[in-house]
Symmetry: C2
Subunit: 226 residues, 2 copies
């Protein structure tokens, strides 16, 4: 069983709602620092604010590319990645090209992931690839994981939190089976609201958690550890 | 009362679901041509496909920038706009920076819209600005409309279809009152599923309709006109 501090170190404290304000982002950063979360995960418009607020702390800034539809051009995702890194992002969660995957265009999906992963690797930034598992078939999930391994991504991630469903233990097990041997991490995100949810994901093989309820989950964990 | 043909000419035939496939996009284009819709509205990844399919027809290709959260960097939205235009888009629907608007940073919202509108105007492409009205207060809707007028956007548009609500007649009336005198159009989008919905929006002042149910609505209109 992880200690509360170990659990905190696996949490990307996440606020991606488009209506989030500057004050909301500052609160997120302060909570992340107080609770020693791994990172804050914010939209590109807030990366500079978050990086300034978290300067000198161990909390990283994570941002997103092609989020949440994954349906923009590869060049745009790569440019967005470059720019958020310049502004202070140390991790980038991209959404793969779901339409290309569903159209059987594996090469386009591969090139899209590779373009973002290459920018990240050049800058020593972690690249996570969001599959949006709720929209994929079993076979599409496996293909997506294989492409993430082949292109040098650092993590596969289940969900954006903006589609029809979030992380399930079954998907985490499937993804972990595909990528763990190659050294990739697995980020569970979407619908993780309680300590029980978080533990179920970790038990299934998740190595990172994307949650907006991080403070609540950690409070629960501290209570359970007493 | 508009004729069915006039109604068709106001419709942006829309498919922005991230899981849409190449076949879905071809079907959308064929329906748009058969029904003489104004445009197809597709994600950036599909602009080149749609432009090739619709080449030589009067149907335009509309795409999106910063969609659907509006929470990416101004430079990324402008670059995305430039690229979709290069690929064949003749209209671009951008999402404004909702977080900046809600944080009271009017100048950032203005600069963000202006950057995209300027790219569009240089290329003689229509720029529509999505307010995501369901997330805005009355005053924020008015400020957003004023900024769209000041920055030279061509249209204000209600909704992305990916948030908590769509177009309402009340919002269309408010937006039309703010922008019509300056010559801007008003696009109603989100939740318009029937001929009655479409008529309610047009009666309230909409000059364009973004709908995925265009074929159904037009079939209804032809029935009603008999």
């Amino acid at each position: 069983m992880l200690s509360p501090a170990q659990l905190a170190g696996l949490i990307d404290h996440t606020l991606l709602k488009p209506e989030a304000t500057a004050d909301d982002i500052l609160r997120l950063c302060r909570e992340a620092h107080e609770n020693a979360f791994c990172s804050v995960c914010v939209n590109p418009v807030w990366v500079a604010h978050a990086a300034a607020e978290l300067h000198g702390t161990p909390v990283k800034v994570c941002s997103v590319a092609g989020f949440p539809l994954g349906a923009t051009l590869t060049a745009v995702k790569a440019d967005e990645t470059r720019r958020v890194i310049e502004l202070g992002a140390q991790e980038v969660d991209m959404v793969l090209n779901l339409g290309a995957l569903k159209s059987g265009d594996r090469e386009l999906v591969r090139a899209d992931i590779a373009a973002v992963a290459n920018v990240c690797r050049q800058q020593q930034v972690l690249c996570k690839v969001i599959l949006e598992t709720c929209l994929l078939t079993h076979d599409e999930k496996i293909i997506a994981c294989q492409l993430c391994v082949e292109t040098g991504a650092h993590f596969v991630k289940t969900s954006t939190g903006f589609s029809t469903g979030g992380a399930t233990a079954e998907d985490i097990r499937l993804m972990a089976a595909q990528v763990k041997a190659a050294g990739l991490g697995v980020k569970a995100s979407g619908g993780i609201r309680t300590l029980a949810d978080a533990r179920a994901m970790l038990d299934a093989g998740a190595t990172r958690l994307g949650v907006s309820a991080g403070v609540k989950i950690l409070t629960e964990a501290r209570g359970a550890a007493r």
